[in-house]
Symmetry: C2
Subunit: 111 residues, 2 copies
DNA sequence: CGGTATCCATCATGATACTG
DNA sequence: CAGTATCATGATGGATACCG
């Protein structure tokens, strides 16, 4: 989240959901609330640092809700807010597109 | 474009359209082909360096077509391929979402 | 007009180790 | 279990100057 004004909606949306991980976190949480560890295991390749960093930002944005259950061992559950849910729905066509063209995308030369 | 395999379509799509500029470039080109200078003026805040860099990547991805008209002064037109057009359509709901929630997004505290 | 080439600052991401 | 701290690296972006 760098800017304060936007020229178009896409500009604003990219600013919110931008980066490698936020869209994937939204998707991982769209079915049910998950604990930190479950979330980490369900998003392959993410480090604990990036996961917590992105989750904190998404909490500030109002996309994600963080609920602490005071018990031993500690249990913290993350879930989507209505706002997060609405963003996730807006991402579905993009996910479908990626799924349809995955073979093409993987064939793109790197570097 | 960093990875070679993807867990889900959204993962792949984010890899293709990720970064601050590519979605905006797609949008700028969706109505009609534009010259380099027109493109630069229509995307506020982008530097020449980033514009040319992103365009080159999008050419490699097969999203954008670059057509050189040999004349004086030089004229180079950029347009969307069918692939680029399909990606742009998949981004429309996200753009709508951003447009609907722009006030909320601008009100999010920074840092 | 439509780029290219450098240099440089800053930011995003990653690896590893450690803690309540 | 759910994080934090620290350091390293690479990507991103801005400024400036130059070229066919």
């Amino acid at each position: 989240m760098k800017k304060r004004t936007y020229n178009c909606g896409l500009d604003a949306a990219v600013d919110v959901v931008g980066g490698k991980w936020k869209a994937l976190i939204l998707w991982a949480l769209h079915r049910e609330p998950l604990r930190f560890g479950e979330l980490r295991r369900s998003i392959s390749g993410i480090s604990e640092k990036m996961l917590i960093q992105q989750l904190r930002e998404m909490e500030v944005y109002g996309l994600v809700h963080r609920e602490v259950h005071r018990q031993v061992p500690p249990k913290v559950e993350y879930s989507l807010t209505e706002f997060g849910r609405s963003l996730n729905e807006a991402l579905i066509p993009l996910g479908d597109w990626g799924h349809r063209h995955m073979a093409t995308i993987e064939a793109i030369p790197r570097d």
